[in-house]
Symmetry: D2
Subunit: 478 residues, 4 copies
């Protein structure tokens, strides 16, 4: 069966055939970064290409304007391949340089490489479709256009709306510094917006009449920083002050708000911690004679791993080998490390399992599967998908070792040849693993059994309450 | 001499003649509120009318695009009449209602009544010009178009540029809830922007690598709030967080900034206090392993009173009597108090010298001159003018008793008939007092002698360093 | 009547006769400083001398072991003369030196000069008694031995117990840097102990299980420091952490407490502010998942002045003249100022009404009565007496100008000749004014009428609830 | 060789023979708890018994009055057995009850079971000596009387003084809730005292002249709580406020201090973190215009495990079996859990490796050796010993599962039969393992080789600077 249309060699051939086209898509997305839930141009670019490839498009999934699915095939198991395309605020950066250099101060940038993620997944879906189409093989491919991974969790809303309910397996990937199968859990996370309302007054003439909502925001933050010592070690709490109440020091701030993110290895623990954070908010309101409301603005479940799928994915990556970085790729990575990455950056990016890679600048191997399953403090809305359908993910080396996520250092590499190579590798790995599932349905059976076991009798429960809509998340302040 | 062109009766007649025209100007300014240093339309409106009246216009005073002077006359003492027209952020509000109701959320509004201030002063200047012109009286009138009173101190920059150096006396007024001559000093104030720079990192994955500039901003604020107990009682410190470092809780904030305002009855004491605030900023940077810079973004000197001028101004106000509020004016003021003003608001607005007015809704008298000179914690860039030229100011009742400055409650009254009446009264009082100075030059002589005495041997020293320009103040963040 | 036994000259003669004896009493009290409610030796010393003078002694007033009265006479108006004798923690200091030099680290010291206060008042009472006894004049003298002025307010408890109810007039004094009649009000004050209870845990092994009561104490303090900006300007809030929860950093603190003092010009305003402080305490408990209780541990009413009595007292001080300081007194004061007092100390001690004295080291005049009555942020339990009986107080120059209260700089002067001279002057002024009241009962009549007016229809209301006893105030922690 | 004098059976027999005597010693130490460096009576009790057993005593080790060694034997390898006897402040508690019930409020208590630790180790040393003596076996036994484990690290000072340099192997144990060999590293820790000095002033009358050292302590704590988010995950920082500056709210606190404990898995990392904490202290001083000094008051190195010794110790524990708890032991443990231990307490005490024990109240097995070596956030001055000589430790079940260290719940069990049983088991395990080392010198050879390897080329470096003496640690405040 090695030479059939679903073989690794055939998949590689088909991916290569359209790689340039989808690298160009990735570069266009990189050049027009759009924030969460506002990815209109990015979605249009993806839809145009997938429609041309013969996929049928359904938009407005879960009521979200920038969520869509692209379906191919009418029969057989449904393979889901997940893409993303949202950017991050304030990370605008010129490409291919080794210093912080925004084009437009304060503009967004692709600080998490989602330009590659969306285009790479699309390339995988298209290559798989081409393979199915060539031989008339039974099986369906569905590309998920998933918005707002960074803020709010687009997939969580899509999961809540049932968008993954009929899937058989799901695949995703993320651009990274290492080539590896994702074999660590991600944490559950909940995002909450706290709105404090006080009373304005002239800060010099009559401060005694004012009740400062900014004071409340600050006191809440102080309270949470005190709580850090007394919270579970695997938990994380962090915040942004999303509205400090105006630029005028001479007005007591009548309104102010913050957004908190609370994470834990299990959704239930995150909810317990969130209750403590809410009490701190109420304490801060009480201290300042202001009032406060708390609104959930996003959330995602912890990730359930799936060893059945991971094993197949790992084997494909092993056979594919690392991206073929050339001297120019290495030279730039070296220069960037020297100019803009610290030794700590490097250690963090390879710790704890790949410390031997610390002297390399680009990953030229494949990280072995870890012996123990552990949980990472990071979160992803793929977590919600993983509670519904067996899901596997990989990462590929797109960036210099040491590049932290959410930094200009990542943005500047986002459309370079090395990034393209990593993206194409990911497309091959995902498409080949999906092909294996279609060739060998037993994989799907085992993956589903494993998911059932991991759920431990619990059903999927969406961390975002029904009354919260994506448009709530876009809305900023009163 | 009572019936000459400079008599009170004649001045009143001339102000009344053009009152409607300038009330309309005020209403147009109210309807198109512009922030400090951005008052381009407001300036254009003023210039158009003053040029039509025969004033010669000089723009770009002190290098500020929205500062101008309008001159009439070529000989004799120069009378300065100061106008303002800048609005405040976030105070947009529908007119004539008793509840908080913005037209456009977050838009600016005239929360300090500067629409009335600019138009009322222009009306005074024009009436005085008309009087001089009618009889060919020697004397000059100069209207100062002063930007950015709220943020930065436009007059301070104009003072630094020498714009008031050749004046003989200066007059100004402010819309208020009471009819009175300003007989209390204002405080000196300095504005400083603190910029903290740290290091970004993913807040869940690698918080230990981040150094949070927002942490530094918060810790500085905590430090300053601790300092409050140990600072002089007449001092004031207040702040706004002008950049909290981004909306994303999952990024350790690499940049954040705040703006502080430090006030004291004497400029020198404000500078001493500012040094303490700067030390707190440095302490916060040290605590967080971030760096900080401090830039002066505005400042004004404490106000030097001038009893010689105040006496004449008071006598004119006494003869003019209060605005003639009618039943409709009273009814709205009553309704507003009931719906949106607290007993505390009322007490603050009449304390400490006019507590007997607490049951009135609109002021129908004239506050007596206080026995003792005291200093208020408020500040004004008229302070800088008062160190250069003898200066007097009055307030007139434009708003319901109890209306706090910088609130929507004030904005909503800014173009009502009551406000117009107060504005017209102010124009009469200023024009008449200026006329008295021209009729009786001895007033000017005494006023100048008093100023010399009050300066106590010190010269005017601008609190804003030469290297700081108005455009620095407009610029926001790195 | 000038030469009768109650004349100023006779009073002076009688005070001088026993001055040395009572200066020695003061020195003994200075040398054995005792904290609030623990003044057993000090009380014994006073009682012994007053009993020898023929006073009848009643101890345990209001159930307080160190409160007593000493009565002389059986008929006529009752003159109260109030004495104090409590010291302050941690202010132990060698006498007559110009550097901080404790005898026993951490021991108490007479940082407020109450050794002079108690002995000086006793000298006044004894001299007045001698005058009455000599001529068989009708009238009664009562010395009040008042404990715990510094902590808790002994007189407030005595007032609550009715100890001042039958008095006709009351006099008190305080050692100070100026010779003057007290003509400014003191503020009301309330003391509250906050006890926080959390949960212990090992701070390294299981901090997540601990709930820190110390965290709560700190967060409450942070909250209160934020409140400072938004409280009335005449109010004061300050605190001590009376139990930080143990010395071991490796135990999460399960118990911690603080004591707050809240002051305002009127008792009612202090109570309103206290409610806000309590809310902050509850907010801090909520933030930390600890619990908190609040217990009133002291309080005193604001002082009602009495111009009728003050006038007579002032006239006597005018006739007596300042203490006769000699070269040695001046030399030490000069040296102390140079070594240990700052220019700020000096300005504060003479501001705002006696700034012209800033170049003197000892006061050689009498401060004029101020035109306006104002309120000071300091508090005294004489305030409670002043709501019950017409009360007047003076201060005399016992210490170098610039000496702050509650400092070693004051302690070191507490038994020097200059202090003795000030004390003797006070005894003369009080005794002479009391004598005038007996000679001229109309003074008492006018003083009582004035008191009625100042109370404005309110009755005396003790700020300390009945359920709080002095022994509660001595008790420290659970 | 099984039946020789060093066999397990013989060791058990000898330990049993003197068990009652040493349980009585433990109970006497429990009843007279003494704080770190003040364990004079406890030391006297130990010395008396060991001298009676024929040990020669050397006191004042490393210049510490309560450090001693007791030596037996003149030839052969030297076996060190370490004992402790210091108690904890504020943990006084009645024995054998299930509620918090101090005998004397605030008195110390044996919250860490060191009464058992010292007596149990002595019992082991005596039994081993008895075995050697019986047969004239070559080998030496040395009991180390180690003070101040809780505060300061007595063994660290002893290590600095060379007291462990000639040892061949060392053994220690700790009373606990589980039977197990210590197979996880402990962290390095450094203790630092921060002394802040400001300027006193009357907090109501002249707060503006004061500079509060308590403010500085609080701001430092706030700063450190903010740092928690940005420090390595394995690090710990905690603090006590050891002097809050006095009980009087009306005095601005001129002096205040705190003690910090900083821990990390490696001494070097703890030192880096300490530098950050010191910067925060300086920042707080800068913010408050106070000054600060930092003094090291204790420290210990991270623990180097020794698998060679641990293996032998584990085998002995396996053969010995768990303590023979009876129905009464179980009943009390059950009652205590119900009344005073939470589910969280229980989980923490068995996590992460023994979660299956969560439904037991007393441990009736032996925890298996973990597969991976990990580091605990706890610290011990045994760490310093472990850098000098191969060291092994065990824990035995003396307390109910769920009992947290440093709580009254532990104190109340400290002299119950169950605790005695655990202690006797530990004595057997240590003595038997020491006996094995003497019977089989190859164990010592392998243990020494392993130590060399673990040191990785580094030498032992004492974390406490030479200039710091134990008496510095006893001294409290200026």
């Amino acid at each position: 069966m090695e030479n059939d249309s679903l073989s690794l060699a055939e998949i590689v051939r088909r991916v290569n055939a359209k790689a340039a086209e989808y690298c160009a898509l990735s570069d266009r997305i990189w050049a027009t970064p759009e924030l969460a839930f506002e990815e209109h141009r990015s979605v249009a670019e993806h839809i145009a290409m997938l429609r041309d490839e013969g996929f049928s498009i359904t938009t407005n999934i879960g009521g979200i304007a920038t969520a869509f699915v692209a379906d191919y095939g009418t029969d057989g198991p449904i393979i889901g391949i997940l893409g993303e395309y949202d950017a991050l605020a304030g990370l605008d950066q010129v490409s291919g340089v080794t210093e912080h250099k925004p084009k437009t101060k304060g503009a967004p940038g692709h600080g998490c490489g989602h330009n590659l993620l969306g285009a790479g997944s699309a390339l995988a879906a298209v290559a798989l479709k081409d393979a199915l189409a060539a031989e008339g093989i039974t099986g369906r491919v569905r590309y998920y256009g998933c918005p707002a991974e960074e803020a709010g969790g687009g997939k969580t809303f899509m999961a809540r709306a049932g968008a993954f309910d009929d899937l058989d397996v799901a695949f995703c990937w993320h651009p990274a510094v290492l080539n590896q199968v994702v074999a660590k859990s991600d944490s559950a996370a909940i995002g909450v917006r706290f709105r404090f309302r006080g009373r304005a007054s002239h800060a010099a003439m009559s401060p005694q009449l004012g009740r400062s909502a900014l004071d409340a925001v600050e006191l809440m933050n102080v309270g949470v920083n005190y709580m850090r010592e007394h919270m579970p070690l695997d938990a994380r709490v962090h915040y942004a002050v999303t509205n400090p109440g105006g630029d005028a020091p001479n007005v007591v701030q009548a309104y102010a708000e913050s957004v908190y993110s609370v994470r834990s290895a299990h959704l239930q623990d995150a909810e317990i911690l969130l209750d403590r954070v809410k009490k701190i908010a109420e304490g801060a309101a009480m201290m300042t004679e202001t009032s406060v409301t708390a609104e959930i603005v996003g959330g995602c479940s912890n990730l359930l791993l799936n060893k059945a799928l991971q094993g197949v994915l790992y084997e494909n990556m092993r056979r594919l080998g690392p991206p073929a970085f050339d001297d120019a790729d290495l030279a730039f990575a070296k220069e960037l490390r020297k100019a803009a990455l610290t030794q700590d950056d490097v250690l963090v990016s390879v710790a704890p399992d790949s410390l031997s890679l610390k002297d390399k600048v680009l990953h030229d191997g494949l990280t072995a599967m870890p012996e123990r399953e552990e949980s990472e403090p990071s979160s992803t809305d793929v977590g919600d998908v993983s509670w519904i359908v067996p899901t596997a993910q990989c990462q590929t080396a797109c960036f210099a070792i040491g590049t932290p996520l959410h930094t200009w250092q990542l943005v500047t590499q986002g459309n370079l040849p090395a990034a393209h190579k990593g993206m194409v590798l990911a497309a091959k790995a995902l498409a080949a693993t999906a092909a294996d599932c279609l060739r060998n349905p037993d994989i799907i059976t085992r993956a589903k059994a494993e998911l059932n076991e991991r759920k431990g009798g619990q059903s999927y429960r969406c961390p975002i309450p029904m009354e919260v809509t994506p448009s709530d998340l876009r809305a900023k302040t009163t």
